[in-house]
Each structure stands twice: as C-alpha cells, then as structure tokens.
C-alpha cells in the first residue's frame, strides 16, 4: 500500500543514490593524478549506475513499467575511456617512451557532475519537505 511514508521512502532512496554519486565524484576528484592502482595502470574514473526498483512488487497500481520506483545503485562502473598521456620521463610510472598515463578524470566534468548531484539531492529534500507539509495539512483537517 502506498501512503505518505512511501513517498518519503522513495525520496530517501533518491537521496541515498545521490550520496553514492557524490562519493564516486569525490573519489574521482581525489584521484585525478593517481597513476598507480592495485590492479595496475592509472586510476579509472568511476560512475554509479542507477536502477529503478519497483516499490511494491505485486501491487496492482504500483508495479510494472508505469509503477512508482525506488532508486537502487545497481553497480559502480569504471569508465573505459583512455587516460591522458603526459610526457614525464622522470616519473617512476613513465613507460619506455617516457609517457605517464594519467587517469581519464576531467576535473571540470566532475565539478559539473557534483553540481547536478547536489541539486538532485536538494530536489529530493524538497520533495520530502512537501510530503511532510502535505501530512501536516492533512492533520489540520481534524482541527
């Protein structure tokens, strides 16, 4: 059954997803110059993959492709784009030609993603506020 609190749950799942996104952005920005990882090679930019998850499986109105859904972070995926090669013969991670492969992280792109993540989080908080406001208005009926 969908009620006031279902809307809160849905918004909360969105907030959680945006927080995961913010974590990957923080990781990408922190590792913008990381040339060495446990798997070898430079750091690869990470991207979360969001997946819609039906809120009430089996419910008539609220399942299927038109149903309301929670957001679920299905996985965090590495970006396959190649890194940038910089000529730095003195760097210990330079290859035989003297080039160092830096991560495929673009700081400007990450800043833009950070803005969209924080705006999406704000939008989720605003919808929670509205749902709370609706609940409070509903309680005014009884006055």
């Amino acid at each position: 059954m969908l009620g006031v609190f279902s809307a809160l749950e849905i918004s909360a799942s969105g907030l959680g997803a945006e927080r995961v996104r913010m974590n990957t952005i923080a990781s990408n920005l922190a590792n913008v110059h990381t040339t060495r990882t446990a798997e070898g090679g430079p750091y690869k930019r990470l991207d979360p993959v969001f997946e819609a998850q039906g809120l009430a499986p089996g419910g008539e109105l609220y399942s299927g492709e038109n149903g309301v859904s929670l957001v679920n972070v299905s996985r965090i995926q590495a970006d396959a784009r190649p890194g940038t090669l910089v000529f730095e013969p003195g760097n210990p991670d330079a290859n035989a030609q003297g080039y160092v492969e830096y991560p495929n992280v673009n700081a400007v792109e990450e800043m833009v993603n950070m803005i969209t993540a924080s705006r999406a989080y704000e939008a989720g908080v605003t919808s929670i506020e509205s749902v709370k406001q609706m609940a409070h208005s509903a309680l005014q009926i009884g006055r």
Binding site: V4, F5, L8, A12, L15, G16, R19, G124, V125, I128, K132, A135, H136, L139, G142, R143
Partner: protein
Amino acid sequence: MSPLEAAGLPLYAPHLGREGELAPVPDVVGPGKAAPGVGNVDPTGFEALVKDAVVKANDQVNRADHASREFAAGRVDDIHGTMLELSKADIELRFAGNVRNKVIDAFYELWRMQI
C-alpha cells in the same frame, strides 16, 4: 425539515444503518494489534482506537530514537535516513495527538449530554 433535507441531501450517510443506527466500525484496528499487556479491549472499540494510534506512534518514536542513537554513536552515517525516521515519528505523534483530541472531544460531548 432538517438542514440536510433542505439542502437535498440524504438524511443518513450510506455507511450508517437506517434509523440512525451506527453500522459496525470498520476494522481499523484489527485483533492482536492492541498494546501488549493492555488486557481485554474490544478490538473495534473506542478505547482500542486511541490505543492503536498511541502504540503506532510509540513504535515510530522508538525507531526514531534508535536511529538517532545509532547515528550519534557513529554506527551508521545515514543522515537522511535518520532525519526521515525523526520526521515520520513527528507525523505519527501529531496524528496520535489528533486522534486523542478527537476522542476526548467526543467523550466530553457525551459527558455534557442532558438526559
């Protein structure tokens, strides 16, 4: 003529029986939902209605309390989850308060009734 009839409205609400007899209260509370240790409470009665609202609100307040403790102790770092539990508790508690006010109002209405 009653004001309702004057307005062209049926005298009795369809969910009420004829002759002003109250239909059974819908099963809002249900058996087994009353607070443990409450005793033999009519599961559809006046008292059970208040108790159910209070018990639900109390459960939610306990959940919110637990969430805040976990957050304060650093065992979870789910800020919005904690705030959400607190908001839910706030709404549930207000709801319980409103139910209580309504029920007390109804009680006083009966209390003041001239026989």
